[in-house]
Amino acid sequence: MTVPTIVPAQSFSMKIDGIDVSARAGQTILEVAQENGIEIPMLCYVEGLSNWGGCRLCLVEVVGQKKLFPACSTAASEDAQVVTNSERLQRYRRTILELIFSERNHVCAVCVSNGHCELQAMAQKLGMTHIHVPYRFPSHDVDSSHDRFRLDQNRCILCTRCVRVCAEIEGAATKGVSGRGIESLIINDLKEAWGDSQTCTSCSKCVHVCPTGALVEKGTAAAEMAKRRQFLPYLTVMRENTP
């Protein structure tokens, strides 16, 4: 066994929204921003899980570059000047959020996660009062076959947090995505009823990382489903420190 030696990571400075901040090599723009109390919107990112890069809300501008960069998966670099909240970014984020709302049936008033929903909170934060892309109103099933949890596809935003936590932390890989594009769906095993799953350990992590009311505990009424996220910071810590 090799003895780990602690090498201090090389640090450098950069600018985020005009503020001088210091960053360490290997950090992402998002991590640097968070350390410095600068909030960047995001929905698919969860610390401790692999990067997904799908929600596109964390896109930021880097001065001198035409392209936009996802803060969650872009390495911080020396002397970079990052802008996280330009008028253009705000406009893009609102439209992306509208697209999410239009995709499934997000009816807050009757949702058990009303008031505890990251999507709802994001809409409030970004000042999205109504949407001007047409709603799709797809018809989706609700899977209530599990004795403790429920999967409601109508509220799903396909952030795949549940898929990643199930595979990467719990190691069960019960959850997956079927189909592609607009037809994508969260599934259990071979798209079976959740209650029949032979692989699900009923650990409930998927329920609690889910940002919306797509994965909830049964027996909760409207606005009652607050998620417990206390365990999140320990997810990777416990893994890394276990021999």
Partner: protein, 546 residues
């Protein structure tokens, strides 16, 4: 195989070919095959046998001759007589006239611009060699380039020649090939891979298929040279499952080359090893994107991931990986044989060499062509392509498939190169070129491509997954004559968002067909919307139109 054996084999085969006075070449690529080329070949063979001319006039199966719309094609070599739309019944006339004047009824003149304006590098063997015979390829200087790099050049010198040639990626984006090779060759030591991207997914493009069906060994040789240059000993060809003939011929070619020692271990007695495996795609356009392609070869859903890291440093199975398209690799043997400078002398300042195009749609001569970079679109469509049939008027030419755009009449005199096409709102793309006449409605065309992007979106990122759906709905509504001015505004806004916020190239370029048709044909959108408005105003009060 030793170097001497290769040269001996080439000489032997050439002598054998010269022994024959005439040779009947039958195109056996997919286009002609589906018009009955195999029956034609059978008929020719039996007629030749009937006349006892087997020793004088062999009948050979060759690859694509280019003029697919006139298939099945048969050529009489070395006279260079070409026959078109040949039927089995024509066999006896063709055979009996080999020493005489050509059969007029089916004769296809070859002094037309379609043949004289082309310059063939990638397609130099297409229609000339039998794709199922290694000896044919060897006789046409095949594997000479591999021999040359293995015995005379250092890997860095190979990269240098490719850099000097100015070759740019033929898959669409036009990234300098030499630069890519250099990056992979410098990406440390250890296991590396070469991937040949043969997942030709553009609807309306069949260049790669034709090359693989007609001259598969050329691609294998290009891959082996690339492997030597970057330090890889394993190659994968990722090919569409929809191309059964190309798959069959590639499998055969790999077996032949391996048996002959041109692939495998210690090639030409050197320390260089290179093995190639096929991997079949399963119908996903997004797998043309490098990181999605890698995911697919690894047996996963073909989802792209954010770059960097680039495949050149972190690719297949986490190792440095060179990914080149079929046509790019098919250029390599010739570049090595003739030198980078020779290649750089062809084409324009920034776009060197030639480009293969699949010419299709409303144009007289549909098929496969190869032209030097810098010819104009007008030359391609009206000279080589023979213009628009049925006396219709030209309207637009679509290049670059679902990532490209529609180019109108006023830009037809523009030279074809990467930059010019980009300037007018399209891209070079992989080489699909679809000609449209006045009967095509441009809103319909935009809707067609958006539907393609919508069904091909992998669903990973929101703008592409939902944005392409919404844009398709809007285009459909406008096209059905139910659109409003607000719809058009929203469409433009979504184009902007999807283009700038999508994760990979598929999403980022999906608005291009809409943007380019809006740029040149906005009146067609406006007319449909105005008509919708009038119809709406004319509806009696109380009645609801849906």
């Amino acid at each position: 195989m030793t170097p001497e054996e290769l040269r001996h084999k080439a000489a032997e085969e050439r002598t054998a070919q010269k022994r024959y006075k005439h040779c009947l070449n039958v195109c056996m690529a997919a286009g002609c095959m589906s018009s009955g080329a195999d029956q034609v070949k059978e008929a020719l063979t039996s007629v030749v046998r009937r006349y006892g001319m087997e020793e004088e006039v062999p009948v050979r199966a060759v690859g694509c001759m280019g003029l697919c719309s006139a298939g099945p094609l048969v050529s009489v070599e070395p006279k260079g007589v070409l026959y078109q739309e040949v039927k089995a019944e024509d066999a006896s006339d063709i055979v009996t006239s080999v020493n005489d004047v050509p059969v007029k009824r089916i004769h296809c003149p070859t002094d037309t611009p379609f043949f004289t304006r082309q310059k063939k590098i990638v397609l130099e063997n297409c229609g000339k060699v039998d794709p199922e015979r290694l000896e044919d390829y060897i006789a046409a200087d095949g594997y000479e380039a591999l021999l040359k790099v293995l015995t005379e050049m250092k890997p860095a010198e190979v990269v240098q020649q490719v850099t000097i040639s100015g070759l740019r990626g033929r898959g669409g984006a036009g990234f300098p090939t030499g630069l890519k090779w250099g990056t992979v060759s410098k990406a440390g030591t250890g296991q590396k891979y070469v991937i040949c991207n043969a997942d030709e997914g553009d609807p309306g493009a069949f260049m790669d298929r034709a090359v693989l069906e007609s001259d598969p060994h050329r691609v294998l040789e290009g891959m082996a040279v690339a492997g030597y240059a970057v330090g890889a000993d394993r190659g994968y060809i990722y090919i569409r499952a929809e191309y059964p003939l190309a798959i069959k011929r590639l499998r055969l070619a790999i077996r032949q080359a391996t048996r002959a020692g041109l692939l495998g271990n210690q090639i030409f007695g050197t320390t260089f090893n290179f093995n190639i495996e096929l991997r079949l795609g399963a119908g996903a356009f997004v797998c043309g994107e490098e990181t999605a392609l890698i995911a697919s070869i690894e047996g996963r859903r073909g989802l792209p991931r954010p770059r960097p890291p680039f495949p050149a440093n972190y690719g297949l199975f986490g190792r440095p990986t060179l990914i080149n398209n079929v046509e790019t690799l098919a250029n390599i043997p010739t570049i090595i044989r003739n030198g980078g400078a020779w290649f750089a002398s062809i084409g324009t300042e920034k776009s060197k060499g030639t480009k293969v195009f699949a010419l299709a749609g409303r144009v007289q001569n549909t098929g496969l062509i190869e032209v030097p970079m810098g010819v104009t679109l007008r030359e391609i469509i009206f000279d080589i392509g023979g213009g628009i049939p049925e006396g219709k008027k030209f309207k637009a030419v679509q290049t670059g498939g679902p990532s490209g755009g529609c180019i109108p009449e006023q830009h037809l005199d523009m030279p074809v190169d990467y930059e010019s096409l980009m300037q007018v709102g399209s891209i070079m793309g992989s080489g699909g070129m679809i000609v449209m006449d006045e009967t095509s409605n441009m809103v319909d065309v935009a809707r067609f491509f958006m539907e393609f992007c919508m069904t091909e979106s992998c669903g990973k990122c929101v703008p592409c997954r939902v944005g392409t759906y919404q844009m398709h709905e809007l285009l459909d509504r406008i096209h059905r004559g139910q659109g409003t001015p607000t719809d058009l505004e929203l469409l433009k806004e979504l184009c902007d968002v999807v283009k700038n916020t999508s994760l990979c190239g598929l999403g980022q370029t999906s608005p291009n067909p809409v943007l380019s048709t809006l740029r040149y044909f906005e009146h067609e959108y406006q007319e449909l919307i105005a008509a919708a408005n009038q119809a709406h105003a004319a509806t009696p009060a109380g009645e609801v139109t849906r």
